[in-house]
């Protein structure tokens, strides 16, 4: 089942990416955010550069070893060793990159990991090996006529943003947002004793966004929060930015400011 913006989103806007809703044995549905063409393209471009660099690196090293001198040129009469040692492993790196890494990294490649996406089946599980193989074989069609034209169009027009290889393999790409930092500054022991849930969330939010906020804004917010929990206004006023941050982190851990 696909729902725009997810069924649990407060305001699912019309432009929001859809969520894949999966039944679970616990009775609580899984809501998996489907990655759109943007995230896919981003991951692909990173992967393309990585495999191009790997291919070139292999070619350069192997060609230098083969030639035995400072030259990358193809021999006038190339032997089987040239193909077997220089070209074949390079081609294998380039063409088997996706399938091998997706199997080893359980639905991810370095590019997908950097883009924060991973492959799953339509029931939210990790795909099996045949699914990885089939989605990569169908790159032959998806890459037509140039620059993954067919694949790009199908990801734009299909509901789940899938290319033909994904349709064949029954896979889709979801955002992998298992980010430890989301609750980095929330400590279960501090909540209830000193902080309520809303304040704990607020402190966590402020600490997470600390570097992105203007220094005056974050200092003012930090002082207001610390004062509510017994911080002395004059001491807080004298405190520097880094000090305020440390005090706030202590508060989140359950210490007194």
């Amino acid at each position: 089942m696909i729902q725009p913006g997810g069924p649990y989103a407060e305001t699912p806007g019309p432009g929001a990416e859809p969520d894949l809703i999966v039944d679970s044995v616990t009775g609580v549905d899984l809501s998996l955010p489907i990655a759109g063409p943007g995230a896919r393209s981003y991951a692909f471009i990173i992967d393309w550069h990585i495999r191009a660099v790997l291919f070139i690196a292999w070619f350069v090293v192997a060609a230098l070893i083969y030639n035995g001198r400072w030259s990358l040129s193809t021999p006038a009469d190339p032997s089987g060793t040239w193909f077997g040692f220089v070209l074949l492993p390079g081609a294998a790196i380039y063409f088997l990159y996706h399938v091998v890494l997706e199997i080893l990294m359980r639905g991810q490649t370095p590019g997908k990991r950097m883009a924060g996406v991973r492959l799953v089946t339509r029931d939210g599980a990790a795909p099996a090996v045949p699914a990885y193989l089939i989605r990569n074989v169908f790159r032959l069609i998806d890459s037509f006529p140039l620059f993954y034209g067919v694949g790009l169009i199908t990801t734009l027009v299909t509901r789940n943003h899938v290319r033909i290889g994904d349709m064949a393999a029954g896979t889709l790409l979801i955002y992998d947002r298992a980010d430890e930092s989301l609750l980095q500054h929330v400590s279960g022991t501090a909540i209830g004793s000193r902080l309520d849930a809303s304040t704990a969330e607020l402190i966590n939010d402020l600490l997470q966004r600390w570097d992105a906020l203007d220094v005056n804004v974050r200092s003012r917010l930090a002082r207001t929060l610390l004062e509510r929990f017994g911080g002395k206004p004059e001491a807080l006023l004298a405190a520097q930015d880094a000090e305020l941050r440390a005090l706030l982190a202590d508060l989140a851990r359950g210490a007194s400011p």
């Binding site: 679970s24 089987g80 990294m105 799953v120 599980a125 045949p130 069609i141 609750l183």
Partner: protein, 333 residues
């Protein structure tokens, strides 16, 4: 107690479990990428899954726009993925693939195999008839260099090893064959039409070139060149085409499932046959690089190699090489 106070207390009690969520997410991630022999570790994951589901349901109601809910959504998805990840037994999976899954898929492909074989044979005959009747049509099927060579009374395969070493030839041929075979399969996505064109065109070319060489008395030499690798190579081409046709048919006439799901089932089922085809093409590349162009091999040797490799192909595709017999009950992998 007021409603607001109650909700606040519930939110606070929920967030007090943040440390448990973090360790649950840690465990799920660790077990997704690694293995554990520890039963307690695996059991804890099941408990974590229930805990995360329970708390997520509460977080969706009590704090829908919070970071805690985002964390729980992600951790729950991670735990679900880890619990439902396929068991990895590469040795068994490979054995099961060749013993049961490939033969089962081949049995399922029988009608497609019959029709694609018929298409290929008809295309060969039509190609042969066309060039036999209208010799100038060879220009549609062969390159000018090939035509000139044959008209000189030579086969383009003669002296091939003087130009390219066997190992290079093997690799080039292997790559080309695998790409053609995969294309014949993938092109089935175009409702089977792509497969139809690729198989038909290859058949036409084969028939046309045989007819053309026959006109110059070179057909015996061409047969001599082809027979060692061609038996399996052409069979694999037809099998790939049949797999592509099955995928195309799933789109044209979906089964009880929807069109997309029918396509997916057909693609996953036939992919096992394609793996076997790629394995067979590696052998073909080797034969075509080392045996076919080498004039030292007499015809009888080539016939034995060609027919022997074809029997090997039958044994592989029927699972006999991996201990399957007629009485074997298929194992669902």
């Amino acid at each position: 107690m007021t409603e607001a106070l109650r909700e606040r207390a519930l939110r606070t009690s929920l967030l007090q479990r943040a440390d448990a969520w973090k360790s649950a997410a840690d465990r799920a991630r660790r077990l997704m990428y690694g293995r554990t022999e520890n039963v307690a570790d695996a059991t804890r994951l099941v408990d974590d899954y229930r805990l995360l589901a329970h708390d997520l349901a509460r977080a969706r109601r009590l704090m829908p726009d919070s970071r805690a809910r985002s964390f729980l959504e992600a951790a729950y998805a991670q735990a679900h993925g880890t619990l439902h990840k396929p068991v990895a037994h590469p040795g068994y999976a490979l054995w099961s693939l060749f013993r049961d899954q490939v033969p089962d898929a081949m049995r399922w492909l029988r009608p497609h195999l019959l029709w694609v074989t018929l298409l290929f044979v008809v295309a060969v005959l039509v190609g042969g008839w066309l060039v036999h009747t209208y010799p100038e049509l060879i220009g549609l099927f062969a390159s000018p260099e090939l035509i000139t060579t044959v008209e000189r009374g030579e086969l383009w395969t003669e002296g091939l090893l003087n130009v390219v070493p066997s190992s290079v030839l093997s690799l080039q041929i292997l790559t080309n064959n695998v790409v053609v075979s995969l294309f014949a399969y993938c092109a089935g996505f175009l409702f089977g039409l792509g497969t139809f064109y690729i198989v038909g065109l290859n058949g036409l070319m084969l028939g046309a070139i045989f007819a053309f060489t026959a006109q110059h008395g070179l057909d015996g030499g061409l047969f001599r060149f082809i027979v060692a690798h061609g038996c399996v190579e052409l069979s694999v081409m037809v099998i790939s085409g049949a797999a592509g046709a099955a995928v195309g048919e799933a789109l044209i006439r979906p089964t009880t499932h929807g069109r997309a799901q029918s396509f997916q089932i057909a693609a996953l089922r036939t992919s096992k046959v394609i793996i076997a085809c790629v394995v067979l093409l590696i052998g073909c590349g080797f034969i075509e690089g080392y045996i076919s162009p080498n004039p030292d091999f007499p015809l009888w040797t080539r016939l034995i190699v060609g027919f022997g490799y074809w029997l090997f192909m039958v044994a592989l595709l029927r699972g006999w090489l991996f201990g399957r017999s007629r009485s074997t009950v298929a194992i669902e992998a």
